[in-house]
Subunit: 403 residues, 2 copies
């Protein structure tokens, strides 16, 4: 908190523009002893030039050794201590697709799944049914009425949907119904404390109705809910840092996290780095701060696709000149967490970070952007929540502290 | 505290094994400008190979610039903030030799000393009398009776003993009687606050009795007490981290510290690194976590014996293959604090740290284990209390935080 108070106290306005380019899951691991990581092996002349001209470092997303989920990891990038500000997945998902989640509303993320004749889960993602099959099912569910509460259900992507319940005295302390396994039934909605039992019962009624309406489906004849949560009432990013901030992201969760901290969410065509940088160009004059999120590095990492991840990094590098043409004053290229292809999941490793600010930076002697270069970089190793003050400083947007 | 809560919340069980090899006082200093440290000059092919394959860093034991005692330094290695959890030397010493110290019992460490005819200390360690001379003296002292309290006295090693007083309303806020100097008398037992005056008086009665019973001795005709303390009721390591933990250590204090945090203390034959690694081998299947403590590097450092310390490091290196044969998943070689032979005492310098975890680590570019290599290592510089979460992460024993 002291951090936010300092930012409020010291923030300055000027016309310097900051770009935070988050290449999700960028950090990696060698696949064989002595070998390079995904980032180290990628052909990335532009990033390497920025590394030469800029300053490297490595950041600890949450705490040493802690592997972050995407929500907490992004909050940390925006300067929020994610242990203090714990935002539920349901809220992130729902706000990410533009659903309103007010204080006291209960949001959850839903997955369609496939059940066998005994109600056991055969496929936790209902064969990853495509959006055009899922949308009519979500419409069917949105017809369900539960006494005393309003329920809004909306489609997210493929087999995923979001649900928001609104009413008096609802409480979010509910267990996930997703058992994270096949061969077992979905859990009932269980209350984590006594006072949330009524909310559990209301969701159970909704689930029973939904199961009835899906019973004849072939693939999506069941569903699971997780990440029950309500709006945590976060302090707002534009007010803390004095920055008019835009979010350019394809995936709902990242848009959701940005919306919760008060960024404006940009709609745009396409989903490539080129498309995202073009979107930044279109609104360049209207904002001070641009959060641009590239998802596919993380997806490739989770799939264990080392070469695929290398390819995405190269695509980002190839598109970067169009972003640099906008002449950002401060450009930071980093990630929320590492997703080493070797591990096929998020990891706790410190994340590679490149900060390029030609007018104000102190370049180190590193000449390439990679994990090991970053470990030797001029910023050393520091917590991700310290990034925002560094970006502000490099944009000359912080006053001197004390006389 | 948030740290422990996170560990409790995220801990996972699996069959990965973690070894924390503490080479006490390992860190050192060059004896001449431009020269190597003890660790840098030692012939240690195994440690250097582990350094090449693993990741280096340097840890700050307590806070920057703070020279730790052995107790706090070990608590930090086990993940406990030693400023918050201040365990007295008396408790460490007493529990280390298996004495029971319950909440409210007051433990202290005792030294025999030599007094001249005026009661001035001539030798603070009574000529380092050997154990077989000291044991009968301790037996003589154990016959002392003080009204309203029970007093237990037991021999530790050479000129050292431990004393535990048990009774109603005892308080540990007492000054050491050891003046840490010769040519002066031992201090009386002074209360640090009013309510501990009664406890001071009880110890003073005991000291007077003890002095009377030692008066005819040649060397050990006096004694000093220090580190008055009671059981701090530490949260328990196995519960915090979900690790069944064994302590393999020769010296009482390290066994005491381990016992206080809930580790199981292994008894074994011998006192060389070989012996200690054999002890680990004997119980390998029964535990998840092995704290192995090597003392003699510290003793050599305190004696100012640079070459002797180098030799101990080489002995450890020579014995290491027997430990590696057990195939630990995570092996950390580090120390509680530096004991540079040049300084002949503990120091505040950051300590060299090597973490080897072939399945999960991100190797840096360092190829030798030494203080300067560690300062350039992939982990950077970090507080010792962050080590445990890192070891847990490398053993894949922590769940993701948040969705």
């Amino acid at each position: 908190m002291a951090n936010f108070d300092l930012m409020r106290q010291l923030q300055l306005k000027n016309d310097r523009k900051i770009v935070l380019l988050v290449v999700d899951g960028l950090g990696g691991l060698p696949v064989e002893p002595g070998g390079p990581t995904e980032l180290e092996v990628a052909q990335k002349p532009v990033l390497d030039r920025l590394a030469s001209e800029g300053t490297l470092g490595q950041m600890i997303p949450i705490r040493p050794g802690i592997t972050p989920g995407s929500g907490p990891a992004h909050l940390a990038l925006f300067g929020y201590d994610p242990i203090q500000y714990n935002v539920g997945r349901g809220v992130l998902e729902a706000t990410g697709i533009g659903m309103e989640v007010k204080k006291g509303d209960i949001a959850a993320r839903g997955n369609f799944c496939t059940l066998d004749s005994k109600g056991m889960i055969i496929d936790r993602r209902a064969g990853r049914i495509p959006s055009d099959e899922a949308i009519p099912l979500v419409e069917r569910l949105s017809g369900i009425r539960i006494p005393d509460v309003e329920v809004d259900v909306q489609h997210v992507r493929e087999y995923r949907f979001a649900i928001v319940m609104r009413g008096e005295d609802l409480e979010p302390e509910l267990e996930d119904t997703d058992p994270q396994a096949t061969g077992v039934q979905p859990h009932p909605v269980r209350a984590r404390k006594k006072s949330s039992q009524r909310t559990a019962d209301l969701f159970e009624r909704w689930v029973a109705e939904a199961r009835a309406r899906l019973a004849e489906e072939n693939k999506a004849n069941g569903l699971t809910l997780r990440g029950f949560s309500t709006d945590p009432g976060l302090p707002q990013f534009p007010e803390i840092f004095g920055l008019k901030a835009a979010c350019i992201a394809v995936y709902p969760m990242y848009r959701g996290a940005s919306r919760l901290v008060g960024m404006e969410i940009e709609d745009f065509q396409g989903d490539t780095p080129e498309d995202e940088f073009r979107a930044a160009s279109d609104i360049w004059d209207n904002y001070d701060f641009f959060f641009i999120h590239i998802k596919k590095t993380d997806s490739m990492g989770e799939d264990g696709n080392f070469q695929g991840k290398v390819g995405i990094i190269e695509t980002v590098d190839h598109a970067l000149p169009s972003l640099l043409k906008l002449e950002p004053d401060v450009l930071c290229v980093t990630c929320d967490h590492s997703t080493p292809a070797r591990m096929k999941k998020h990891s706790w490793h410190p994340v590679p970070t490149l900060l390029w600010a030609p007018a104000t930076g102190l370049p180190d002697h590193q000449t390439t952007f990679g994990e090991r270069a970053c470990a030797q970089g001029g910023f050393g190793t520091f917590p991700t929540i310290d990034l925002m003050p560094l970006l502000m400083a490099h944009a000359d947007r912080l006053e001197k502290f004390g006389a």
